[in-house]
């Protein structure tokens, strides 16, 4: 249940940004969640809904973009099948993930500036 501590960091970061820009309200927070980020998008949503009351995100919608794992060979770009061993069948090179597939990122904040 680390989603709650993540939401805490997220809300803190959004509040700081809103303060720095003199925003009067935050309307939307856009987050991307990689399939291998270790974060469950549904749990994150629940944690956000629970935690946002009384914070600067109280009226901000949360949009979650999901990023698929998509392992691929860094040399030839060949995509590996789901559940396949993580080496390129051609050259044997260890597969790599596309950007964001193992991360949880704060992508965008939409705020109201007077």
């Amino acid at each position: 249940m680390h989603e709650y501590s993540l939401v805490q960091s997220l809300v803190g970061r959004v509040e700081a940004e809103a303060r720095a820009r003199g925003a009067v309200a935050v309307h939307r927070v856009v987050v991307s969640v990689g399939e291998l980020s270790g974060v469950d998008p549904d749990l994150l949503e629940t944690a956000y809904q629970t935690f946002r009351a009384g914070t600067g995100c109280e009226r901000a919608e949360l949009t979650i973009r999901r990023v698929e794992a998509g392992w691929a060979c860094p040399a030839c770009g060949r995509r590996l099948g789901r559940g396949a061993p993580l080496g390129c069948p051609e050259c044997g090179r260890p597969a790599e993930l596309p950007p964001g597939a193992d991360e949880i990122l704060l992508e965008r904040i939409e705020m109201e500036v007077p």
Partner: protein, 272 residues
């Protein structure tokens, strides 16, 4: 103010950030890593299920390390009790408990705080025994040089497939309690096959803390990692300076780590 038509409505401003939500933890982890590297300490994040044998591995490692003349140290995290730290002390490893309360994982700030009253600088290998959990600890960088995941043969052949995030983060998997294999219907080859599907650079050592089988390979792996530690070029800064613990992962002083994170390729110590 809306500048398009002058209607007086406030303006919605999109702010593009594209930054890690764990950026605060990453900063604290970089800070820890810099300290470890400056002192030439090999710091390892030891993760695994409750009961997988993390503490037993360290007890067995203590015996082998004594022969090599290595000084070990450990912090040991659990939701409650200091049982593991006391076990390690008994085995001759200076150890401190980190009691996390409700938290299911360690973060870099908790580790940093635990370093303040612990003689970690006088160690060669420093173990951070994480909370027993195959989920949450995987995503928090603590400043370690490598992640070691402990998996016991009794946990099931498909554990790596069920917890891919944890095993993807592993630099080495220790397959423990191998002395139990004759009593179980478990094929270690199937565990290795599962690892190949979640770890791009699979590395596994089979061992038994009880019989000592395989411990030599683990000690060799530790020796290789010690030898591969990047030597710090900057002046080692003392750790006695004042810290402001603001609880947001930030620090009262800034010094970015120049050294690379410990995500380098695993030396060919794995396999079986």
């Amino acid at each position: 103010m809306c500048t398009t038509c002058g209607c007086g409505d406030p303006e919605i401003v999109p702010v593009e950030l594209h930054e890690r939500i764990l950026a605060g933890n990453d900063r604290a982890a970089r800070h820890n890593r810099e300290h470890f590297l400056a002192q030439g300490v090999l710091a390892l994040n030891l993760m695994g299920s409750p009961g997988s044998g993390k503490t037993a591995i360290l007890e067995a490692t203590a015996r082998a390390a004594r022969e090599r003349g290595w000084r070990l140290g450990a912090v040991s995290a659990d939701l409650a009790t200091d049982h593991d730290a006391r076990r390690l002390e008994k085995a001759g490893i200076p150890a401190r408990a980190i009691t996390t309360g409700q938290a299911c994982h360690l973060d870099a700030e908790l580790v940093h705080r635990s370093l303040h009253d612990f003689p970690w600088r006088e160690t060669d290998v420093f173990f951070i025994e994480n909370v027993g959990n195959l989920v949450c600890p995987a995503i928090y960088d603590l400043g370690q040089a490598a992640n070691v995941v402990v998996l016991s043969v009794a946990e099931g052949e498909d554990k790596p497939l069920k917890y891919p995030v944890m095993f993807k983060a592993a630099d080495l998997v220790l397959l423990t309690k191998c002395d139990l294999l004759p009593h179980l219907e478990v094929d270690p080859a199937r565990i290795e096959d599962a690892l190949r599907r979640v770890m791009p650079r699979p590395a596994l050592i089979r061992l038994s803390a009880r019989t000592g089988d395989g411990l030599g390979r683990w000690i060799d792996w530790l020796a290789e990692r010690r030898a591969a530690l990047p030597r710090s070029t900057g002046a080692a800064h003392a750790h006695e300076h004042e810290h402001e613990h603001r609880g947001d992962g930030g620090h009262g002083h800034a010094h970015e780590a120049a050294a690379a994170p410990g995500a380098g390729p695993v030396p060919p110590g794995g396999g079986h």
